[in-house]
Symmetry: C2
Subunit: 292 residues, 2 copies
Amino acid sequence: MTSLRELLRVGPAVDLKDIDPGSTPGLPGRKVTGKDQKGWAREQLASMAPELARQQEMLYAGAKASGDRRRLLLVLQAMDCGGKDGTIKKVAGAMNPLGLHIVGFGAPTEEELRHDFLWRIRRALPPAGLVGVFNRSHYEDVLIARVESLVPERVWRSRYWQINGFERDLINDGLTPVKVMLHISYDEQRQRLMERLTDPTKHWKYNPADVDARARWTDYQAAYNDALSRCSTDHSPWYVVPADRKWYRDWAVANIVLEALTEMRLSYPRSDFDLDAERRRLEADRTPTMAS
Amino acid sequence: MTSLRELLRVGPAVDLKDIDPGSTPGLPGRKVTGKDQKGWAREQLASMAPELARQQEMLYAGAKASGDRRRLLLVLQAMDCGGKDGTIKKVAGAMNPLGLHIVGFGAPTEEELRHDFLWRIRRALPPAGLVGVFNRSHYEDVLIARVESLVPERVWRSRYWQINGFERDLINDGLTPVKVMLHISYDEQRQRLMERLTDPTKHWKYNPADVDARARWTDYQAAYNDALSRCSTDHSPWYVVPADRKWYRDWAVANIVLEALTEMRLSYPRSDFDLDAERRRLEADRTPTMAS
């Protein structure tokens, strides 16, 4: 079976217009009804959870016991309502919270603005052994920064190659980037915004500024096309996940992450102490003694 | 029904010797067999998960939408193998990872040692709206620091009241501390260490230094008795959870956290924008336009 990453990976001339946000590439059983596909995808996600957690534990154990510097970083980008939070809840939620390092990026603070755009990113990278998740990322600096003209064009234009160099350095230091763009349609965004207005337990998620950003939809799609085209490199590819169907999105992202972890060929570290000697020490030691 | 917090809370003259690590206080149906109790507790934990997640979401929403500064901090302390990691996996694992802020404390770094003992703790506090978890905490500074004589006695003695003042300040700033000591027996610790030696997927958790610390068991229990007695205050009580039975431990900690969240009387924030006006804006806006 072709890996899902191969199917969803984008190349140097990607145009989001060519990717249907409602499609479900790689999902077996396309001939069954939509409802059955959804049930199947949800079941598959649940049955993947133990393996995701096991891979994550091996990654963690390697860093803890034998100084393995490897770590994984899931980078999530999307338009508003694209489902970043929901994906984190479902995919990262299947893992052990002790081994997660989740960071969200909003508008930069004054202090962050006094540094180069990668400064706050470097500080937020997952330590060895952890699975990091970026809820938005350094890609905002070639998306909103470009669309809203927060910096001059020559500045954001120079960032594509800066990002590529930065990610290459991270890989050389043992980090595996998994960059996922959750691709929703203009109409699906409207429906999700409307839902936030309708359900009182979702009002807090609604931000009138999101509708202002929506007015610049076409500009954002163009900025995404450039970011994906220029920064989907051999060493650090981008995956575009059609995300109008939440059950497909969660299934796909979990699969992509699991494929990346599996490719790392992780294993539980061997002990560097004498197992028998330790067993004897423990056997001998059955009653607490007063040490002082 | 008496709250579990009332049952497990300890007072100013606690002695761990008086608390049976194998007991299951507050668990209904004590007359059924151990196996049935375990199944019941596991089921209860699973059925509590949605309510834990809902409370956590309301806490998060309040900070995000209306500047509510409240947050909760679960402080976990235990002897080695006491089950801190397992508790986090089960209890925090029932929540949304986006709303968690988990920090583990090991031996202080050189930089940390150049500051007062609460410096690294302050930097690790959960931001408004989050559920923080401390895997070990500032209490190590009156436990290992005392037992291993890392600082002179006058120094660790002065820390009890410093901790009480520190926690009072946190509460005044909107933080709800939930301090839980997982109480295991000397024999249970031996069995768990042995299991780590036997199961190759657990070797990485085994540290020969844990057996050295085990030789000072009685000193540690005395240090715990003092820390619990002096720092279980009206505003910031300590709960001792018998932890030889993992299923009781997880059930009890989840209950304590849920009780604390419920007592905060959280609710979803009201919107501060005009719902109808926003709906009209969205309805009008069905096709992406070129903004530039």
